[in-house]
């Protein structure tokens, strides 16, 4: 039963082929069996079984929603009442949230069963899941490689069938890149589509939560539950939520696809490029028109991102001061010692690096040169996309210049790690929706195709992704040993 999509599982649960408790137990067993992947920070076994029992009652009474009884798992960045919420950090190793994130509330309300909390880069800062206080996560396709990050635990767990689906968050590619590395479907919605309340902030103007699933169809089901205006989040958009499943099978005849030439320039691995070109050909066969476009400022997205994201995070992470919750050093001598040692001992190197960069960029005398300038370039990047979407319906390209790299391969060179996010970051800076779907393999490692669409056109994005998955079976591949 663990090989099925959510649509299939929901059907089977309704038909009584198995109960939610049985389904949940089978996933819990798999989580235990494959614990070496290190996907979970917390497995909420008792909570999951209790929720499954409730779901079975709902199913029996016929008042179930599409997610009732479906086991999912939450990235450990979402506050869950009563269960540890660590954000992948020693700082919050002892933190039990007194409230639920809005996303968590929505899943609970839908009757989904939460299996546990998924591993991630510390405070979502990283592209390989190696900055987690709880250790690296393995990629089930090749356990010597990284699953990507920061939602690495989510991607690995979905790929290894340890959960039917997972949530992720994406600040600069943290859903799409691990989805690509692990051969699953990962959607970053438009900024403002999903509430950020209760999602521990990394860079507030870029963070967005989204589904990580086995198919575009499943992503539509999860997004339906996650989306919507939240009065607790001033940046969430007060805009009606469309039916994400309705148009999945719409014809792509006449679809205008733009290929940004900057996505196919130097730095892109040749084999990855060929996989993407083959995928684009598949769309051509479905009646799409292909056109080259340009995003001239895209090359500036990495420097812009590494000013804005650290600037925001330097303030967002100030609340972790050892005073009210989280880690506090032993026997502080005085207030300064309390701050310095609590933060010094509990934050990892990557988090410290970004706090330092952000603090520097906001300092008197540097603010205009860094922060203000970065915001100006950010607008230019958005303008590029606006221009592109006046010519085409969607943009396509790779998610990452390469496939999953080896564990430990890039940890010594942060800049190299940062540069690998070149294809995903601009999308966050512009606030656009984008999806990564499996498009083939290079040396038995998955390659993700990235599709970007205009603001709040997720139904269209999902339609374009789903049609591809109707004619290809890349998304149905399972890593060896995890069948």
């Amino acid at each position: 039963m663990h090989n099925k999509t959510i649509t299939e599982l929901a059907k089977d649960l309704r038909e009584g082929k198995f109960s939610s408790v049985e389904l949940t137990q089978s996933y819990l067993d798999r989580i235990k069996k494959h614990s070496e992947l290190n996907c979970f920070i917390t497995v909420a076994e008792d909570f999951a079984i209790e929720s499954a029992k409730m779901a079975d009652i709902k199913l029996a009474n016929g008042d179930a929603s599409p997610l009732t009884g479906i086991p999912i798992a939450q990235k450990d960045i979402f506050c869950t009442q009563g269960t540890k919420t660590s954000c992948g950090s020693k700082m919050l190793d002892n933190f039990i949230s007194p409230y639920n994130a809005t996303v968590v509330e929505k899943f609970n309300h839908s009757g989904a069963v939460m299996l546990g909390k998924l591993n991630m880069d510390e405070f979502a800062m990283g592209s390989s899941n190696e900055t987690s206080f709880y250790g690296a996560v393995q990629n089930p396709w090749d356990t010597s490689t990284v699953p990507g990050g920061s939602s690495g635990g989510s991607a690995s767990a979905v790929a290894a069938h340890l959960t039917a689906a997972a949530t992720g968050t994406d600040t600069g590619g943290s859903i799409r890149q691990p989805a690509a590395f692990c051969g699953i479907t990962g959607l970053k919605p438009s900024y403002g589509r999903v509430s950020r309340y209760g999602m521990i902030a990394f860079a507030s103007s870029l963070d967005q939560a989204g589904p990580m699933t086995r198919s575009a169809e499943d992503a539509a089901t999860l997004l339906q539950t996650m989306s919507g205006f939240d009065p607790k989040d001033s940046t969430s958009m007060n805009k009606p939520v469309p039916d994400y499943s309705m148009g999945l099978n719409n014809s792509l005849e006449g679809l205008k696809i733009g290929l940004p030439k900057e996505f196919f320039s130097e730095g892109l691995n040749d084999s990855v490029a060929r996989v993407i070109e083959t995928a684009v050909d598949e769309y051509r066969k479905m009646g799409a028109e292909i056109k080259e476009v340009s995003l001239p400022h895209m090359k500036l997205s990495i420097p812009v991102y590494y000013v804005i994201a650290p600037a925001e995070c330097s303030a967002n992470l100030s609340r972790f001061d050892g005073v009210r919750f989280g880690y506090r050093c032993d026997e502080p001598k005085d207030l300064n010692d309390l701050y310095i040692r609590s933060r010094g001992e509990a934050f990892g190197d990557e988090v410290k690096r970004r706090i330092l960069m952000g603090t520097y960029a906001l300092s008197a005398g540097y603010y205009d040169a860094y922060y203000i300038k970065a915001q100006k370039v950010r607008r230019l990047i958005s303008e590029d996309f606006k221009q592109a979407f006046s010519e085409v319906d969607v943009l396509m390209g790779p998610v990452s210049p390469s496939t999953a790299f080896g564990l430990g391969e890039k940890t010594g060179d942060p800049i190299e790690m940062y540069l690998a996010d070149i294809y995903t970051i601009a999308v966050n800076l512009a606030g656009l929706p984008a999806i990564s779907i499996p498009a083939g393999f290079v040396n038995e490692k998955p390659v993700g195709l990235q599709i970007i669409s205009n603001y709040f056109t997720e139904p269209h994005l999902l339609n374009v992704a789903h049609k591809y998955q109707q004619t290809t079976n890349w998304h149905q591949q399972t890593p060896k040993g995890f069948e």
């Binding site: 309340y197 999602m199 607790k232 001033s234 303030a315 001061d321 919750f325 701050y339 008197a364």
Partner: protein, 476 residues
């Protein structure tokens, strides 16, 4: 050398909302520590601020009242610094785009009018409180106050004396209460002030180095703190020293200012726009609504009182010092139908004196406008004399009875019946032959003795005019 003082004030007015500026927790003062702080106020991981729209209205109201520019949009920014009572490690404030732009306030010192510029007013959240007592060497944190809405009102360096600074502060204090956007309670910290003070040789154009005096929580202390700081700076310069830019704390017990931190030790607050909050747009619709809600302002009201009630400046100033008092006065005039002057004398006289003596605010007055009007009516129609009225007033203060009930129950009605007064006078003349003789032999002062005796015998109720008339007749 002759010195000139330059003063600018930063006033923090706590906005009188029921809930906090970015959360729904209540703002009530004096609760048990940490009982009025929700997840947002505690700065828990994942929480987000949501702007209380009430504070926007209040700030716009203030802006309109000082004739300020109100820009079409304003932006919240994060002011970063670490302190245990600052839960997020940053304060949400406004920097480059405050909600209220340049405006002005007119003050009056010793009859001279002066216009003081208001540079800006911006919205921000208050921090919590560190408690140093009863924690055995540790520090306690109370976050009840964290997130309380503040309007910081920044003046131009337009004031030239402590007296002007106090006049300006009072004017703002009156105004925010008039607008009902701040309760003005200085003991509870709802209205507090920092003062930037510098001195320069008279005639010099450039400003001297300033010191910022922190946290002065009464009008009296503002005046004292500024004066003592001026003295300190002049002494320092005349003794060959230089003033350094620094933050100083006023110590009321010793009447001195003490250095808190120098410019070098000052934080780099690293302000940047808060990405959790959208820019606040001030629509034309909101402007219209607020404008329509704007009450008559203190200056306009005072002018009207002087004209409508023929009052002198002092009386009009007193009566319009608070909106409630002005409303009370006008209600008394209307209900009693008495002369405005009689009403003003009573409200400014006995009534305010009694309130002050009891330490009460006008909204806590034990005598409502109806009961005071009832008393004044009986003075005007001569049912009671002014002297008896004071006695009735005291009864009004103590209980719930109306003036008429008190007059009736205690038989205080003035005796105007000349026969009754004549009978009393006849008896007094008969009982005091010596005094009669003295008077008749030319000692006119003795007349007062007879008046006094008559009033005493009538328990003050005899109509004094009648008494005079009859006595004159009888003692011819």
């Amino acid at each position: 050398m002759e010195w000139e003082t330059v003063i600018g004030l930063e006033i923090h007015a706590q906005l009188a909302t029921k809930s906090k500026i970015f959360s729904s927790a209540p703002t009530a003062y004096g609760a048990e520590p940490n009982t009025q702080a929700c997840a947002v106020d505690l700065g828990l991981p994942g929480v987000l601020p949501v702007l209380n729209q009430q504070v926007v209205r209040m700030a716009v109201k203030f802006g309109m009242a000082i004739d300020a520019e109100i820009p079409p949009y304003s932006v919240f920014a994060r002011k970063n610094y670490f302190y245990p009572d600052l839960p997020k490690g940053y304060q949400i404030s406004q920097m480059d785009h405050p909600i209220v732009g340049f405006g002005h306030i007119d003050i009056d010192v010793n009859g001279t009018k002066k216009r003081i510029g208001v540079t800006r007013a911006h919205l921000e959240e208050d921090a919590g409180k560190s408690l140093h007592e009863n924690f055995h060497g540790s520090t306690g944190i109370d976050l009840n106050r964290a997130g309380t809405p503040l309007l910081e009102i920044v003046s131009e360096p337009d004031m030239r004396s402590a007296q002007e600074a106090v006049a300006y502060m009072r004017k703002i204090h009156d105004l925010v209460r008039y607008l009902e956007i701040c309760d003005g309670n200085m003991q509870e910290g709802s209205f507090r002030c920092d003062a930037n003070v510098s001195v320069r040789p008279k005639g010099q154009e450039s400003l001297g180095t300033r010191a910022e005096l922190k946290n002065i929580n009464s009008f009296k202390f503002v005046e004292k703190a500024i004066n003592i700081e001026i003295e300190r700076q002049i002494d320092l310069i005349e003794g060959g020293g230089t003033v350094v830019q620094e933050t100083r704390l006023y110590d009321a017990d010793n009447n001195e200012t003490r250095s808190m931190r120098s410019k070098e030790e000052a934080n780099d607050y690293r302000y940047f726009p808060d990405p959790d909050l959208l820019p606040v747009e001030i629509s034309d619709e909101l402007r219209e609504q607020v404008k329509a809600d704007l009450p008559e302002l203190p200056d306009a009201k005072k002018l009207r009182f002087k004209k409508q009630y023929a009052q002198d400046d002092e009386i009009a100033t007193t009566l319009t010092s608070s909106r409630q008092l002005a409303d009370f006065y006008e209600a008394v005039v209307e209900i009693s139908g008495c002369e405005a002057k009689l009403c003003a004398n009573w409200v400014c006289g006995n009534f305010l004196a009694a309130l002050n003596k009891a330490g009460l605010n006008i909204n806590k007055t034990p005598i409502c406008q109806d009961r005071l009007a009832g008393l004044l009516k009986r003075i005007a129609d001569q049912t009671i004399s002014g002297k008896i009225a004071k006695q009735v007033f005291e009864e009004l203060w103590k209980g719930d009875a109306t003036a008429d009930e008190i007059i009736e129950q205690q038989g205080l009605k003035q005796i105007t019946d000349s026969n009754a007064i004549e009978a009393i006078i006849d008896k007094i003349i008969a009982d005091n032959p010596n005094q009669v003789e003295q008077y008749l032999s030319g000692k006119e002062k003795v007349f007062g003795f007879f008046v006094g005796q008559t009033m005493k015998a009538s328990q003050g109720k005899a109509n004094p005019n009648e008494v005079n008339k009859i006595l004159h007749n009888k003692l011819k």
